[in-house]
């Protein structure tokens, strides 16, 4: 049989159309092979080696559903936000939230019933931002926190003690700055993104009060933020590092004597520097201030668009509530995090000594969690103002006045929906 050019062309076009139309569901291959429906589970890409294999191992051990793990590099939060608008998104997914708009928009499933009998065992600091109107919308996986690392030997050489106030931090960073080593690294943007609202808490304020009002309409806020400007103006800050604040490279490569980073970096820092480092919260500012550091948690949530919501909830309960050995493994065997369950955190040997023990203590004494009412619009308005204060020397008081107005409007918007 001879095949004419037209037949070939038509067959090719038809095949192409079938290929294009088939299986664009986001629930592709690689499932665990368990019985029951197929569930798509999404994670953001972790930097720590072994994490991907671990979560795939957990999924493969689940027998009541065929769980396909998707390990997603890139802008994960934006990817999930877009995927939740469609039917091709995940069934179970890791979320840095969920945000208030996601909850109010009915994009995630209420998980309150999963917490029966174990609610008190979850760290309240990270459970609170997952709770809205008394209902819980995600299961906290691990507790993460950010803190200030300092190099003991460099501080000793410069005759500087670990800073106990923002003023001391400004002075220490200046004293530690030399031709080749900067005093402090708060991120390539000078701290607007990484520190964010932490200086407000260090000044004894908050971003949004418990009553849902603006928490920084106070002169103490401008005073604290002005000190970040001072760090920048003194040229004490490392700027333009190839790896940003979340990576400890600048600290371990001696580009800076102190760095704001995450607890996740502790094993890497310990491996490079041994015991030649310590950790701190952001020091207090002013008479009403107290040291502060942010704690938070990626949570596991169920998409409201899933065709298998019940099965997804069952899987999520099995993984993040029942299987304690997996939770411990996930928190401590790869990167370095505090288990979200208080009972697991208490018995974790790795958290009982040295800087890790200090970090755990700081997290309970000084940790704050970003409230749900601090929406992305408020965060952007505040960070933009902070960037202008730090880098352009904009007047802190007038910048904050504008932000207070914008945050009030945003709070009114979300309250109207509740």
């Amino acid at each position: 049989m001879t095949i004419s050019r037209r037949t070939l062309l038509a067959t090719g076009a038809a095949l192409g159309l079938f290929t294009a139309c088939g299986s664009i569901t986001g629930r592709g291959g690689g499932g665990s092979g368990g019985d029951g429906p197929r569930l798509a589970q999404w994670y953001h890409q972790y930097g720590e080696a072994g994490t991907e294999q671990a979560v795939k191992r957990y999924a493969a051990a689940y027998e009541k559903a065929d769980v396909a793990v998707q390990w997603r590099p890139g802008n994960y939060d934006e990817q999930t936000a877009a995927a939740l608008l469609t039917d091709s998104g995940p069934d179970v997914f890791e979320v840095n939230g969920p945000s208030l708009d996601q909850i109010q928009g009915g994009q995630v499933v209420d998980l309150t019933d999963l917490f029966e009998g174990v609610r008190d065992d979850f760290n309240p600091a990270v459970l609170a931002p997952k709770t809205y109107d008394g209902r819980i919308w995600a299961v906290p996986q691990v507790v993460d926190m950010q803190l200030l690392y300092y190099r003991r030997s460099l501080l000793d050489d410069a005759g500087v003690r670990p800073p106990r106030s923002l003023d001391e931090l400004v002075d220490a960073a200046k004293a530690l700055t030399t031709k080749d080593v900067k005093g402090l690294f708060l991120g390539n943007d000078g701290g607007a993104g990484a520190l964010g609202i932490t200086p407000l808490y260090a000044a004894g304020l908050s971003c949004v009060t418990k009553d849902g009002e603006v928490g920084f309409d106070d002169p103490a806020a401008a005073r604290a933020l002005g000190k970040l400007r001072q760090l920048y103006a003194d040229k004490s800050l490392l700027l333009g590092a190839p790896a940003d604040w979340s990576d400890p490279s600048a600290f371990t490569q001696e580009l800076t004597a102190m760095q704001w980073c995450g607890l996740w970096a502790l094993p890497a820092v310990k491996k490079e520097l041994g015991d030649d480092f310590g950790v701190l919260a952001l020091p207090a500012d002013g008479p009403g201030g107290r040291p502060a550091l942010p704690v938070g948690a990626y949570g596991a949530a169920v998409s409201a668009r899933s065709d298998h919501k019940k099965e997804a909830k069952d899987f999520l309960k099995w993984l993040w509530i029942d299987k304690e050995e997996y939770q411990e493994d996930f928190a401590l065997s790869y990167g370095f995090h505090i288990p979200a369950r208080l009972s697991l955190a208490k018995k974790a040997d790795k958290l009982k000594e040295g800087p890790a023990a200090d970090a755990v203590r700081f997290s309970t004494e000084y940790g704050y969690a970003e409230p749900l009412l601090w929406t992305p619009a408020s965060r952007t308005a505040y960070q933009d103002a902070l960037s202008r204060i730090i880098k352009s020397g904009a007047n802190a008081e007038s910048e904050l006045k504008t932000v207070v107005r914008e945050v009030r409007a945003e709070l009114a918007r979300v309250k109207k929906k509740s």
Partner: protein, 309 residues
């Protein structure tokens, strides 16, 4: 008679309409599905409160448009665009024209030089931006630019992190210049090769001096149509700037308020964690209108489409 006339039609023209749709149909369908429907949907969304949804129910009229126009961040992004195009349009124009003139005159290894200057156009904006950010213009002592400054005893510069002076413009403009000058060089080369050599011979006979005089009175007027097209393309491309800005300046916690062009701003409003698709759509419609007005105005000013062109 009609039947006889149909029978005499040559094979192949009988189903001309069918074959037209076989070949054009899939592309037309793609255009409608992936361009016109989203465009219309975006206009629809712009009149609704659409947080985290593309099927909104709360009609807000022109509220999204008024709040977008009152938003300093949006107007600042238009200023950023204006500054960026003021830098990039003339520099790319002059550099690509100069390269084209140089390559056109080169007698040896012409193909080699054309390839060398054109090759950056094949490089991804993302890759180039990351090379600029991480290797050449990082702010530490081992960055290439800072190493060179160090030879002269100058201080290290945090290229992308300082606003006074705004060194970030140097980084942004040079990466785009490197990436796109070769492409526009090719357009100018095509224009140069269309100029009849007899014009240059006649000018020589009339005593015109080679160099500036010939360039001004023969080459540039003959390149008018190409120059207009290049300028229009450069301005539209400047409006669409996203990749290099985003990859040079964003970090895991966001994007600084300076050097935020309109597309980056709209990305963070509509597709970032903000997910305010109504407001973002209003911004996209406004931006599309601005681009259309600027392009039409520019085309009329240059006289594009008039008979003599």
């Amino acid at each position: 008679m009609r039947g006889a006339s149909r029978a005499r039609q040559p094979l192949g023209t009988q189903n001309r309409t069918l074959w037209f749709w076989v070949f054009v149909g899939p592309f037309a369908l793609g255009l409608v599905l992936f361009t016109y429907v989203p465009l219309a949907w975006s206009v629809y969304l712009s009149f609704f409160d659409a947080h985290n949804t593309v099927s909104p129910t709360e009609f807000v009229g022109l509220d999204n448009y008024t709040s977008m126009l009152r938003n300093d961040a949006f107007t600042d992004s238009l200023v950023t665009f204006a500054v960026f195009s003021a830098f990039i349009v003339p520099t790319t124009f002059v550099l690509s024209l100069a390269l084209a003139l140089m390559v056109n005159r080169t007698r040896r290894a012409q193909a080699f030089f054309r390839s060398v200057f054109f090759l950056p156009a094949a490089c991804s904006y993302v890759v180039a931006a990351l090379i600029w950010k991480l290797s050449i213009f990082n702010g530490v002592r081992f960055g290439l630019a800072n190493t060179v400054l160090g030879w002269f005893g100058a201080e290290q510069v945090a290229w992308l992190s300082t606003t006074q002076p705004p060194w970030y413009w140097l980084v942004i403009v040079t990466v785009r210049l490197w990436l796109q000058a070769g492409f526009y060089m090719i357009l100018f080369l095509a224009g140069l090769q269309r100029i009849s050599p007899t014009l240059y011979e006649a000018a020589a006979v009339d005593g015109a001096r080679p160099g500036w005089q010939v360039l001004r009175h023969i080459t540039l007027p003959q390149l008018r149509a190409t120059s207009v097209a290049v300028t229009l393309l450069l301005v539209i491309n400047a409006f669409q700037a996203f990749d290099e800005f985003y990859n040079l300046l964003s970090d895991s916690r966001g994007y600084p308020p300076y050097a935020r062009p309109p597309l980056v701003y709209l990305y963070y409003t509509a597709l970032g964690q903000g997910q305010n698709l109504g407001l973002g759509s209003a911004g996209a419609v406004l931006l599309a209108l601005i681009i259309a007005v600027v392009t039409v105005g520019q085309a009329r000013w240059f006289g594009l489409g008039r008979k003599e062109d």
